[in-house]
C-alpha cells in the first residue's frame, strides 16, 4: 500500500520539508560561522565547532528520518543519510582533534565516552541502512545522537590529565570494546522491537512495555527523594567537577519540592500500566483507550517535570545535609538523571509514533524473518565483543589493582550481561528459540546492559567510580 502511495506521488514529493530542513540547517550553520568570524575562536576544525556542525546535521537527519517514518517518502532517507554521513565526518574530526590535543584516545570520562558513543551510533546507523537496508533505524538513533551531543555540551569538556590508575593502553581498549559491544546490544534491542512490530504484537503490549520502562526510570529516581526535595550532586563551578566528601562519595544538595513533582510523575507513569492491567483482566477495549489517554498525560507531565528539573538544576545553590550554607549545582552534575528523564520522554514519543503510524511503519520495515535473523547476527557480534571487553578489563584490573576479578558491582553486572546473552545463544542454538521468545530475550539482555552502564554507576558505586 505505501509503495503504491509513494509511487502515485510526483517526483517532487516532500520537497517542501526538504527545503525547510535544509534552510534551517543552513541558517544555523551560517549564524555559527558569522559568530565564529566575529569571535575568532580557534581553527574551524576545532572540536567544539565540529560538534556543533554534527549536532546540526544529526538534527536534520533525525527530522528527515522521522518524517520518513511518518510519511514514507523514500527521498527523505537519501538526504537523511547524506546528512548523517556529514555529521559522522564532523564527529570523527572532533574526536580526532581531541585525540591529537590530548595525545591519547578520548575514552576517559563521561564526556569522552558520549563522544565515542555518538560516533559509534552514527556509524551503526549508516551500516544498518546501507548494509542491512533497515532505513527507519535513523529515526531512533539520530534523536539519541542529538540528545547525547546536547548532553555533552553540559559536561565539562576540557582535556583533563589522567589520574595514575587510568594511564594504560588497556583502558582505552577496554572502554572502546565496551562502547562497541553496548552499541551492538542497543542495535539488537532496536531490531528486536522492530521484530515485535512486524510480528504483529499488539500495540497495547508496546504501551505496557513503554510504561514499564518509564516506571523503572522514575522508581529508581525515587532513591533521591529527600522529604519532598530531590537530591542532586553538588557542582564546583571553578573546578568544573562534582564535589566529593570522600572518595567516590558525592556531596548531595536537595532541591526543595522537586521530589513531590517526581512522585506525581511516577504515579502518572503507573496509571497507564494499571489501566493496561485492568484492560487485560476485563478484556475491555475501553480500558485500553483509557490507558492510552493516561500515556498522553504521563508524557505531558514528564515534559513538565523535565522542564522543572532543567530550570532548577541548571544553576542556583541549594541546602545540603552535609554542608553549611548553600551549595551550587549544575545540570552537568546529574547526567544520568537527565539521560533517564529524556530517555523516558523519547520512549513515550516513539510509542506515540507507533500508535499513530503502525501500518505505515510495518510496510517500511524489513520482514519479521529478516529482523529475527539480523537480531541474532547482531548478538553474534555483540557477544564476542562483550567477552573481550570483560577479558581486557580483567587484565587491566590485574595490572592496576593486583586482582583480575574482585566481584566489584560493575564487574559482576558485566558478567551477568555476558551470562544473559550466553543464555540467549544457548536457547537459540540448542533449543531453537526464534521469533517472539528470542526477541524478549534480546530486550531483557539490553535492559541488563542499561542497568550495567547507568544503573550500577548510579545505584551501586564501586571501583568504577571514574566512569
Amino acid at each position: 500500500m505505501s509503495r503504491a502511495r509513494a509511487e502515485e506521488r510526483p517526483g517532487t514529493a516532500g520537497t517542501t520539508l526538504l527545503v525547510l530542513v535544509g534552510l534551517s540547517m543552513a541558517v544555523l550553520l551560517l549564524t555559527a560561522l558569522l559568530g565564529m568570524a566575529k569571535a575568532k575562536t580557534g581553527p574551524i576544525y576545532s572540536e567544539s565547532n565540529m560538534l556543533y556542525a554534527a549536532l546540526v546535521f544529526y538534527a536534520g537527519a533525525g527530522a528527515l528520518y522521522m518524517a520518513y517514518g511518518v510519511a514514507g517518502i523514500e527521498r527523505y532517507v537519501k538526504y537523511a543519510s547524506i546528512s548523517t554521513a556529514i555529521g559522522f565526518l564532523a564527529t570523527t574530526i572532533a574526536a580526532g582533534h581531541r585525540w591529537y590535543l590530548a595525545g591519547r584516545p578520548p575514552f576517559s570520562n563521561l564526556y569522552e565516552m558520549l563522544l565515542s558513543f555518538v560516533w559509534t551510533l552514527a556509524l551503526m546507523t549508516l551500516v544498518a541502512e546501507k548494509y542491512y537496508k533497515v532505513k527507519i533505524i535513523g529515526s531512533i538513533t539520530m534523536p539519541l545522537a542529538v540528545v547525547s551531543v546536547i548532553l555533552m555540551q553540559l559536561l565539562p569538556s576540557e582535556v583533563r590529565p589522567l589520574v595514575p590508575a587510568l594511564q594504560s593502553t588497556w583502558l582505552q581498549v577496554h572502554v572502546s570494546l565496551a562502547m562497541l559491544s553496548y552499541a551492538a546490544c542497543a542495535v539488537s534491542f532496536a531490531l528486536a522491537i522492530m521484530f515485535l512490530i512486524q510480528d504483529d504484537m499488539k500495540t497495547e503490549s508496546f504501551q505496557a512495555l513503554t510504561a514499564l520502562g518509564m516506571v523503572a526510570i522514575y522508581a529508581s529516581m525515587m532513591l533521591r527523594f529527600r522529604s519532598g526535595g530531590f537530591a542532586v550532586a553538588g557542582w564546583d563551578p571553578q573546578q568544573q567537577s562534582e564535589i566529593f566528601i570522600a572518595r567516590g562519595q558525592s556531596l548531595f544538595v536537595t532541591i526543595p519540592d522537586l521530589g513531590w513533582l517526581f512522585v506525581l510523575v511516577l504515579i502518572s507513569t503507573l496509571a497507564p500500566l494499571a489501566l493496561y492491567g485492568v484492560a487485560r483482566l476485563r478484556k475491555s477495549e475501553e480500558f485500553y483507550g483509557y490507558a492510552n489517554q493516561a500515556m498522553f498525560v504521563t508524557i505531558l507531565l514528564q515534559v513538565v517535570g523535565a522542564l522543572a528539573f532543567v530550570m532548577r538544576a541548571k544553576g542556583g545553590a541549594y541546602p545540603s545535609p552535609d554542608a553549611d550554607g548553600l551549595v551550587p549545582t549544575a545540570l552537568a552534575a546529574s547526567p544520568f538523571i537527565l539521560a533517564g528523564i529524556v530517555g523516558a520522554i523519547f520512549a513515550g514519543l516513539l510509542y506515540l509514533l507507533l500508535m499513530w503510524r503502525r501500518e505505515g511503519l510495518q510496510k517500511m520495515l524489513p520482514s519479521a524473518d529478516d529482523l529475527d535473523r539480523i537480531t541474532y547476527k547482531t548478538i553474534c557480534i555483540a557477544f564476542p565483543l562483550l567477552t573481550l571487553m570483560i577479558a581486557v578489563g580483567a587484565y587491566w584490573a590485574n595490572e592496576t589493582w593486583g586482582s583480575y576479578w574482585s566481584w566489584d558491582p560493575k564487574e559482576t553486572w558485566a558478567a551477568i550481561t555476558w551470562l544473559v546473552y550466553a543464555g540467549y545463544l544457548h536457547m537459540r542454538i540448542t533449543r531453537g528459540w526464534k521469533g517472539r521468545r528470542a526477541a524478549y530475550f534480546a530486550i531483557l539482555g539490553f535492559a541488563v546492559v542499561i542497568f550495567t552502564f547507568f544503573g550500577v554507576t548510579y545505584l551501586l558505586p564501586g571501583m568504577h567510580a571514574y566512569a
Binding site: P161, T387, A391, N398, W407, P409, T412, H426
Partner: protein, 482 residues
Amino acid sequence: MGVKAVWDKIYKTLATVRTGIILLITVVIVSALGTLVLQRPTSDVDVIRRTYSPTTLLWLDRLGLTDVYHSWWFVGLLALVSLSIIFVSIERWPNAWRFYARPYRRPEAHFRAVLPNREEFSVKDAKEGIDAATRAFAKAGLKAEKIVDNSEISLYAEKHRFSVFAVYIVHASLLLIFAGGIVDALYGYRGFVAIPVGDTVNAIEMHDAKGNDFKKPMPFALRCDGAGQENYPDGTPKKWWSNLVVLKDGQVVKQKQIIVNDPLIYHGIRVYQASYGQTGKLDHAELRAAPTSGTASPQLITVAMNKPVELDADTTVTLTRFEPDFYVQDNQVFTKSESPDNPAFELKVNTKSTGKDVTLWLFPRFNNISQGPASPYTFAYADMKMANFTGLEVSFQPGQWGVWAGVLLMAFGLTVAFFMAHLRFWAMVVDDPKKGLVLWVGGACNKNKERFETRFKELTSAIREELRASGNGDGAQTKTNG
C-alpha cells in the same frame, strides 16, 4: 536405589542443556543479590555497621549474604555449572566426533534429491565433466578429493571441518578459567602494606572473611628506598612511584622502580603501587642558626629527629619533637593533620660547659624565628622534607595463568564459533534416465546461510564457464533451484 542408580540420575540431570540453563539463571540471580548487599571483602567495616542494624547484619552474615562470592554454596553452584558443562559435552561428543572423523563424502541419490543448495548441468562426457568441476573447485580455492566408487566418480571439498569443535573449545576455555579461579581462591592471597621510605617490612595486612585484620608473613622482605608523587600543572596527581628492593636472607635479590600499572614481580608474587602519602613524620629540616651574641654569620644546619647537631665546640642542638600541622590548646602543642601545612619544631640547645639545656619552639608560619631568652643561638626555618610512605598492594595468584590461557582459548573458540563455517561441496556425474548425463553440484554450510548461497552461486557459474570453455556441453542448467 543403589549408588550407581543415584549417580546415573545425577548424571542424567546434569547432562542436559535445560539443567545448565537453570543453573546459569541461579548464578545470575545470586550474583545480582551479591551486588545489592554490601560485601565484607570489598566494603569498609564501619560502612557495613552504619548501613545495617546489628540484627539484620547477624542474619545477613548467617545466610552468607555478606560474602556471597566466597561462600561454600556459591562455589558449589559454580562447581555444578562446571559439572553440567562437562557432562553435556560428554553426552554430545560421540556425535560430533563421528561427524568430524567420517565426513559424508559421496552424495547418495536421496541426499542429492533433497540438498537445498544444488544445481545440475548436462554434460557430454563424464570424465571431462568431472575435470571441469575440479578446475572450477580449484579456482574457488577448494581442494577437491576424487572418490571413485563402482565406476561412479564424485568430488568432495570442504573447509574448516574443525569448526564443528568450536563449541567444545569455548566450553573448555570456560572450565580453564574456572579452574584458574579455584586455584587462586584456594592458594592465592591479596593484602596491603604501607612502607615508610627507608623501612623494611616482611608481612602484609589482610582481613579474613569476618572482617578481622591479621598479618601474613611474606617469603621475603621488602624495602622501600624512595617514593614520590609527580603532579600535573593543575595539581592533580600524574604519577606515583616507589623504588623497591626485595631482600631474601638479607641479600638483595631484586630491585625495581614501580609505578601504577607496572608492578614488581618476584616468584609469582606481585607488588603493585596502590597509594602514596605522608606519614606526618619528618625526614629532615634545614634551619639557619645564628649566635645570639657576637657577629658570626648564621650557619645552615640540617636536623633530623633526635640527632644532635654541633653548632660550635661548646653547643649542640637536637630536634626533639615535630608536629606537621600544629595548634595550641591548654598551653600544649597538638597536630590537626598529617600534612605539613603548619609545622612546629621543638629544639633542645645544649651547652656542654654549663651543662644547661634550653628548649625552644619554632613555628615557621608565624614568625619564623625562635629565640629563647637563655639560648645562645636563634633559629630560623629554611626548608624541610617530609618522610613519605608508599602504599603497596601485594597479591599472589598462581591460577591466573589458567585464566589468561582460558581467555585466549575462548577468544579463539568464539572466533571459530561465530565467524567460521564448515563449508562442504560435492560434484558428481550421474546418468539420469530422464535428463541423460548430468553433472550434479551441491553445497552445504552450517551457519551464515545467505553468504553461503552467493558463494555457491559463484562456484556454479565458474563450473558453467569451464564447461563452455572445454566444449563439453553448453553449460545449460537442467535444473535450478530457488
